[in-house]
Symmetry: C2
Subunit: 416 residues, 2 copies
């Protein structure tokens, strides 16, 4: 039997300072960050994070899509336990989205160093390339290539609006690597919730059960332009009247189905969009999400039937095209339970929660047991310069992360 | 007792040819016309019409807002009977809107000349300046100044997008006149229907009872932008969901109220208009029309109440601004009846009809008894390069016009 070992603690001030230091690179006037993937600002951010991790004793690897891995050695050669997220941002992004996951990983390593703890397995901090997809599509590019969701060649050939390819941009910033990416024994991604639930319920830790499946559609409704004055109701083929009914049905579906159903019409364009002309054409998007694949499929069947009926009633043509199809992701049940238990044991309020958005952990979870830890963000707002989070919540999430990582990596020695 | 006099007849081919000749000025590739008010093309069109009217024996007057009046003398000095419309077009306009009313007037004068008929009162053909309002607002500028709806000074100072004023444009094309506009004993405006009713009912002549009153609004709905994935339904403030309900209520109101109720949302702009962001702001227009002022007021009260309720239900701010308010216009009952009777006596199918749009006759009707004659247009389409009308219908309308004008002006002599 060994004696009880002291519990390593993350340093809240150091975590916060690292977030603020990284946020200075690409800082915007309104307090946000604009650091698009594979720009020189992204390079500056990567260089800073790499230097911190190198100083913390990690060996640095960069793979061919620019994913950066910082490996803290373990007592034995084995697949490391991974922690990570991304540091690229939206054009008007915030300080925490992605950055928190990477710098919580850095803080875990610093805390283990402080306590002179060697884990059985190595620990790796991953910085995934181009999660946001603002400059290059697809989103979650680096973790997607890692997990085999996209081919490396396809992604390297993708170009931005100026025609610069991912391969060129990686070479320009010095992150076109050739190292082999490690496989993980387990992977953890801490993240701000990007939604309002934890804040509204005054809960500090979200044990993320999975990510909602997503089915995205483009819908075009075609009627007939006509003058608003002379054309009686019975002779109208008003595409916007049809679109209004579609929006109402999307909302009804989101309200009616179980398993965290979501339904949103976010984009809508009217043609000719003139005050006194009956709209002959409307294009709109439909975004349906659900935690369960069969329920999501039923939601899709439902809106398809609604659109057919509305088009017939309003004498419109309807053209529906599916543009994105992500199946629901279920994180590793063992680690979801353990995160919940570790948070509770630490005296934190905790609830299970679904991620409404995609994250790198969704792809990485195809290769190993994975889980996420959510902390609240102010007003549920992200992808916005006013994105904000409380230092205490960020620290609490990092502490739960540290304990989960220690459990997954195994603790072999304490200092004397 | 005098012997029965021969009935003068308009010449369908000559009328059609004049329409085609005028349509050559500013002709577009798709068969339409682009001849914006007070451009050099408008000058060319005015010069051609003025020359035709001058050759037909008319004296030409031009007033300070550029309205052109061509007076065919009568047997006595008296207020003339007016006929007219406009020859400016929409940016993608057609051959008939406005032009038909002016050239039907020319054809009436030519037909009277052919039959050597002198009327008791003079007859005047009016070409009103800037009816369309595409280059300069307000619409129906020339007839509005004539009727005292706008001041001359206000309209002369209005500018186009390049900063050119109406006064400058009138001077540039040589139509800044100084003549006093005549007052009319009666005024008639023939026009294509710009709607689908006559065509659908296979009716040739519309005896226009009046023009619908118009109440136009801008509505801004403000909620909160939020991510489409993480935000549950109960926490959303989705401005587009609110807008959809407004659109549905506008349509319900148009269906429910009597007296040719119309309701249209023609323009709608979503912000931020991103596929996976719940819309925090929507701006839309509401166009309500009715033939009766009290019914129109009730429609406005109804939509105001709906908007208040929807805003409360969806936790949105709603800002409603009225931007146009035209009271319903009722044309002179005597002349509406006479047009109906004259059409029937000529063997034409005829029905009473409301004008959904505004016309110069609405303003001129504030100064004298006025009426309009509608003929069908293909598919009810106008303000479009594919605007079309049948020569036989145009001729039938001009013949009814001729007979109404003869009745209003009085017939004094036949040739020997």
């Amino acid at each position: 039997m060994t004696a009880p070992q002291p519990s390593p603690r993350i340093n809240p001030d150091r975590l916060w300072q690292s977030l603020m230091d990284l946020a200075a690179i690409g800082a915007t006037e309104l307090g946000g960050v604009r650091r698009l993937a594979l720009t020189d600002l992204d390079r500056q951010g990567r260089d800073l994070v790499r230097a911190w991790l190198h100083h913390a004793g990690c060996r640095i690897l960069v793979d061919a899509i620019g994913n950066l891995f910082a490996i803290r050695p373990g007592a034995r050669e084995a697949d490391p336990v991974g922690i990570g997220s991304h540091i690229d941002t939206q054009p008007s992004g915030g300080k925490f989205d992605g950055n928190y996951g990477v710098l919580a990983g850095l803080e875990v390593i610093r805390a283990l160093n402080d306590a002179a703890i060697t884990t059985d397995r190595p620990i790796a901090v991953a910085v995934w390339t181009n999660e946001e997809g603002s400059r290059f599509t697809p989103v979650m590019m680096g973790s997607g290539v890692y997990a085999g969701a996209f081919s490396l060649e396809h992604c390297l050939a993708r170009t931005d609006l100026e025609g610069v390819s991912v391969a060129q941009a990686l070479a320009q910033i010095g992150y076109a690597g050739s190292d082999t990416a490690p496989r993980f024994a387990a992977f953890f991604e801490p993240h701000i919730e990007q939604g309002p639930i934890l804040e509204a319920e005054h809960i500090t830790i979200g044990a993320v059960e999975g990510a909602l499946g997503q089915r995205w559609f483009d819908l075009e409704l075609v009627g007939q332009d006509a003058h608003a004055g002379p054309t009686p109701l019975a002779m109208r083929r008003d595409a916007l009247v049809g679109a209004a009914q579609v929006i109402t049905q999307v909302r009804r579906i989101a309200a009616q189905y179980p398993h965290n159903a979501r339904g949103t019409v976010g984009q809508l364009l009217v043609s000719p969009n003139s005050r006194n002309v009956i709209p002959g054409r409307v294009r709109l998007t439909i975004d349906l999400r659900n935690a369960q694949a069969d329920t999501l499929a039923a939601m899709v069947d439902d809106i398809r039937a609604c659109i057919s009926r509305i088009a017939a009633d309003e004498r419109l043509e309807a053209h529906l095209t599916e543009v994105v199809h992500f199946e629901p992701c279920h994180f590793d049940p063992h680690w979801v339970s353990r995160i919940e238990a570790l948070a509770r044991a630490a005296g934190q309020s905790v609830r299970r929660i679904a991620s409404g958005a995609g994250h790198d952990a969704v792809y990485v979870g195809k290769t190993c047991p994975a889980a996420m830890i959510f902390v609240p963000c102010e007003g549920g707002i992200s992808h916005n310069e006013i994105e904000n989070a409380e230092p205490g919540h960020l620290a609490a999430g990092a502490q739960v992360l540290l304990e989960a990582v220690l459990e997954a990596a195994g603790r072999t020695a304490t200092p004397h």
